[in-house]
Symmetry: C2
Subunit: 300 residues, 2 copies
């Protein structure tokens, strides 16, 4: 089924303990779209400046990502992030953040996208996410991402948004911050009282937790010995998850579990190289192959 994503398109500069890359393709909607494209067509809404290389748009189109919702602001500059991963790769520092055209992003959902059945609101100000919702017709499933900044600065807006979403995806620190609960299970339970029917807590190299009215589903991360660049892990996870749900056209607890597993697998590939490079080198069959290995690693 149709899958819409609204989020950032960026040019990233990334420093890891081993290597450096400048001005590579990044952004939440970019990682998400590519990851989802293994499973379904994607409709993308975002904004870039006229410094945005056309080849990135072409590459996304080649993956059946419909870029009709991409605004190009003449004279504007694309969102840029520069970051540095510390030795243990779970911690990173933002060295520079230029919101540029993303700072005044006002999403416009093209007419042809308004009937999208699956909607993912990638990380953005809750009011921006809300404006997207106002432009779509009764989707079957709405899932939102968020981050600590919005929880701290615009919590009322976020709580308002949560009343209108089916699922929330966030990391463990954010779940604790949002609920003032240090225990993740209790934090997840509390989030379900705020509106969402399910919450996905991303724990990076420690896996993920899905919480629904049926209780918890827990997953370790795929244990990879080759983490090169963690950027986009959460967004590729969400893309794999939502892509699978849209492909299967349902979001019952059992399908959600499988979707989390595919998200885990896509993310495990994504971190094996900079930008989208590793994802570009694999196909759906690779995901299924690694999923089979992963299953083996958990059998007892």
């Amino acid at each position: 089924m149709s899958l819409l994503v609204v989020g950032s398109l960026a040019l990233d500069s990334v420093e890891t303990p081993q290597q450096v890359r400048d001005d590579v393709l990044g952004g939440s909607a970019t990682y998400f779209s590519y990851a989802a494209s293994y499973f379904t067509d994607v409709r993308l809404v975002g904004v870039v400046g006229d410094d945005w290389p056309a080849e990135h748009t072409e590459m996304l189109r080649s993956r059946n990502v419909d870029t009709a919702g991409m605004q190009v602001i003449a004279g504007g500059k694309t969102f840029r992030w520069r970051g540095k991963y510390l030795t243990d790769m779970n911690e990173r520092e933002t060295l520079e953040l230029q919101l540029n055209v993303f700072g005044s992003f006002d999403p416009v959902v093209p007419e042809s996208f308004r009937n999208s059945r699956f909607v993912f609101l990638a990380n953005a100000a809750p009011k921006v996410q809300q404006r997207t919702l106002e432009q779509v017709e009764r989707p079957q499933l709405i899932v939102a991402d968020t981050m600590d900044l919005w929880i701290r600065e615009t919590k009322d807006d976020l709580l308002q948004l949560l009343k209108h979403v089916d699922g929330l995806v966030l990391n463990d620190g954010e779940a604790k911050l949002l609920t003032h609960e240090e225990n993740l299970i209790r934090a997840a339970e509390k989030i379900l009282t705020l509106g969402p029917k399910f919450v996905v807590v991303k724990k990076g190299e420690h896996g993920a937790l899905l919480y629904t009215e049926e209780g918890p589903f827990v997953l370790p991360a795929y244990p990879t010995g080759a983490v090169v660049d963690p950027t986009g892990a959460g967004d590729s996870f969400a893309g794999g998850m939502m892509g699978f749900l849209a492909h299967r056209n349902q979001a019952d607890p059992q399908t959600l579990r499988q979707a989390l597993v595919y998200g885990t697998i896509v993310a495990s590939y994504n971190v094996e190289d900079f930008s989208l490079e590793r994802m570009k080198g694999i196909e759906r069959e690779d995901l299924d192959h690694r999923l089979a290995l992963y299953r083996q690693m958990m059998i007892f």
Copy 2:
């Protein structure tokens, strides 16, 4: 089969964000023994002072823990630890450490214990662990625990010990410290080159990793909403694991996986109350019941 543990017996004072307990039963060998006692008889070697309450010894005996190897030092004081857990419960501060009689612990394995088939060397100086090994006759399986202190201060002794053990149990930070590898899979691979045939990396609330020549086995922790006191989680995990292996009288990769699962389940109970209180309230059937729930939480 016969299971021997050599380690600390302690009186702990524990402060959590909610509650405080003074002079409660603690120590690695204590938690280990109780956890293993769900599966098998245990032979305990340790040392206490004459301040040690006799009721603790009686309680262990009531669980078929043979305390013939417990030295009571007249005029000596029992090992005492005082610690405080911070808000997120994954971090703790040691407020006071009195090694007392454990500081000069020279383990003496009673004649009747020397034929033990399964041996667990709980956390102690590698030279102390080594002295235990010199007193046992060709065990079937030797597993050692260690900690950052020994890796930093007595690494040569530890490397010497590792040549003589089948398995090593340690936490993620310690695995990285020992191998200078930030990636856990690479750290685990490196540990296998040091002697052990398997390594178990404990990640607290993030689960555990088993690495053998067959590759990784990954487990999330049992998601509990009721963490009261994490003290002894690692030791009760090891006790559940070794108890199960001794009970099954084998340690092939498949049995090791099941043993890690039982370790995970015992530890998940242990953290639900102070000291050994929660473990005292459950039986083997409770472990199997929770294991069934845990399995459900991972099915996809």
